[in-house]
């Protein structure tokens, strides 16, 4: 290997310092150079611009469920009947795999808003259309691996680890919500 004859007094801390400084500067430089490449794969601005969606609730009858698309994901909106609300509120938290009270999952009791993606491996649960299986708890049933969700969208039976997610949303009027 190429080794220069050690000059007295030049070896030791001084050379170590140069090595460490050079390697650190290169590491910082490499990081700065890599970041634009990595970040170019993040959502671009036109994708982020579509990150909110408004939904008009007027046409949804009581007991009806609709699916809307938000950030390319299905969002379930359920206009719950009083019986279903009672059922959801009546469950003891101890019986739940992912304990959460129904009141913490809704802003207005009659409107349940969920991201319609099974928390197991990402399939869309059945129960939105007339005639589809609702599962053992009257909510949703995922056909991929048999997860059952209740009328609050909470996991009750099957492999899914968590309740169906509630997306960020707000009522911008009594009949309109904004997702995102």
């Amino acid at each position: 290997m190429a080794t220069t004859a050690p000059h007295p007094g030049e070896e030791g801390p001084r050379r170590d310092f140069i090595f460490v400084a050079a390697i650190s500067a290169s590491a910082v430089g490499a990081g700065l150079a890599v970041w634009p490449f990595v970040n170019s794969m993040n959502p671009s601005r036109d994708v982020l611009a579509e990150a909110t969606a408004e939904v008009d609730l007027t046409p949804i009858e009581e007991g009806q469920r609709i699916t809307v698309l938000w950030r390319k994901k299905p969002v379930f909106i359920d206009h719950r009947a009083p019986a279903k609300i009672e059922e959801a509120e009546g469950v003891a938290l101890g019986d739940l795999k992912d304990p959460q009270a129904d009141a913490d999952r809704v802003q207005r009791k009659e409107w349940l808003v969920l991201i319609g993606i099974c928390t197991h491996l990402g399939c869309i649960p059945q129960g939105q259309r007339v005639g589809e299986r609702l599962g053992d708890f009257g909510g949703w049933f995922c056909p991929c691996h048999g997860s059952h969700y209740d009328t609050s969208g909470r996991i009750r039976k099957g492999p899914a680890p968590k309740n169906l997610d509630v997306p960020p949303y707000s009522f911008i009027s009594d009949t309109t919500i904004q997702l995102g």
Binding site: M1, A2, W35, P36, F37, N39, S40, M41, N42, S44, R45, D46, V47
Partner: protein
């Protein structure tokens, strides 16, 4: 420059791999242990490293641009605007890619001229030179097809003009152009195949570059004095001596690239390419990228379609014959008093051709272009052979060490 007897490696991981697949010793057997390199290489020898880095930059930025680009006639232009406006750092990736191509060509031209000045193509490095010219040809094809992808006016009409070169071929010409286009004019099918090849060819270049490096390390680098290395005294290890020396040139190249990218990103491009491709309207003045201008000038200088295309091809193909057209056995122009002048005249001639390539093909510039074209070929087929025969080279030093060491000072002076 063999690697010597089987080597014991200190690193345990390297030992583990080496025992199962002797890849490290295979590399060493090719490049020689510690890569002994002539000790008198000047900065012009750094261009190979710059080129390698330029290729890596092009491939890296290209792969990420390809994640956002859409090779379709209806969407390509908009997808490039999407990259420029919406994709995070898309503008940076694209400007580095576009200006990186210019850096690549600037470096390759200097690399070729270095070879011509110091006679790097002479025995036993003819094949090394030929492989290099092959890389150059593939590079030109890659750059041309990349220029088509933004699907602006210049892209479209460059594609039209260049593919029409093939229509000059007698009998089958029109059939070949139709086949190249995948239609009856340049259109989406053309764009899609260009995109496919534009992605493929850089990897081909990478592969051929490995052959180039392999061929290089059989006899090692040539050097400014042009005589072969004779003893260990003539060489130093590549690392750290040349890695550190070339690092400075790489830094300089980065500064130039960064200046273009951040301050003048469109200095080398053409405003017409900001207009979407329009098959019904040709721009008033079709100009290729700067790195094709000399060859474009040669194409336009010949007042005959087939003749122009043939001479255009010949102007590049003649480089393959360079090792045999130059009849002098002395490699370096330092010891060739006559050739040295003709070399610089040749450089001037190519620059003039480049200027002509950017002008309208009429009047004085057409005449100058014809004269410069004639001289371009004369340099290779007349001047080089004759200068080799009649020139009286200066005495060569005994070895590389001689003009460097004190005892060789007199020889070194004579060499200047």
């Amino acid at each position: 420059m063999a690697g010597g007897p089987a080597r014991q490696y200190n690193n345990r991981l390297i030992r583990w791999v080496e025992y199962r697949m002797p890849i490290f010793s295979a590399v060493e057997a090719t490049i020689g242990r510690d890569m002994p390199t002539p000790k008198n290489l000047n900065y012009w020898w750094s261009l190979g490293s710059v080129l390698f880095l330029a290729l890596i930059i092009q491939i890296a930025t290209g792969i990420f641009l390809a994640m956002h680009y859409i090779p379709n006639g209806a969407m390509a232009f908009d997808s490039v605007e999407q990259i420029m406006r919406n994709v995070n750092y898309g503008w940076l990736l694209r400007y580095v890619h576009a200006n990186g191509a210019s850096l690549f060509f600037a470096a390759v031209y200097l690399h070729i001229l270095r070879g011509m000045y110091y006679g790097s193509y002479k025995a036993p490095r003819e094949l090394l030179w030929i492989i290099g010219v092959v890389i150059f040809v593939v590079m030109m094809a890659t750059a041309f097809m990349g220029y088509v992808l933004p699907w602006g006016q210049m892209s479209f009409w460059a594609a039209t003009v260049i593919t029409n070169l093939f229509s000059a071929i007698p009998l089958v010409g029109n059939g070949i152009t139709t086949w190249l286009w995948g239609g009856f004019a340049v259109d989406s099918p053309t764009l899609q195949r260009f995109y496919s090849l534009h992605y493929l060819l850089p990897f081909v270049i990478f592969g051929i570059s490995l052959l180039h490096v392999w061929a290089l390390h059989v006899h090692g680098s040539s050097n400014p004095v042009g005589i072969s290395t004779r003893s260990k005294q003539d060489t130093i290890p590549y690392h750290p001596y040349y890695t550190s020396k070339y690092m400075s040139v790489i830094g300089l190249s980065f500064i130039v690239l960064a200046f273009l990218v951040f301050y003048e990103p469109n200095f080398l491009s053409h405003p017409d390419n900001f207009k979407p491709a329009d098959p019904l309207q040709t721009p008033a003045n079709i100009v290729p990228e700067w790195y094709f201008l000399p060859f474009y000038a040669i194409l336009r200088s010949i007042p005959d379609k087939l003749g122009g295309v043939v001479m255009f091809g010949a102007s590049i193909a003649i480089l393959f014959l360079l090792p045999w057209l130059d009849t002098s056995r002395v490699r370096s122009a330092r010891f060739r008093p006559t050739y040295r002048y003709f070399f610089w005249i040749f450089v001037l001639d190519v620059i003039i051709l480049g200027w002509v390539g950017a002008q309208h093909p009429e009047g004085a510039s057409l005449l100058i272009g014809r004269l410069a074209t004639a001289y371009y070929f004369a340099h290779f087929v007349i001047i080089l052979p004759f200068v080799g025969w009649f020139e009286r080279p200066r005495p060569l030093p005994e070895s590389i060490s001689k003009p460097v060491l004190k005892s060789g000072a007199a020889v070194a002076e004579a060499a200047e």
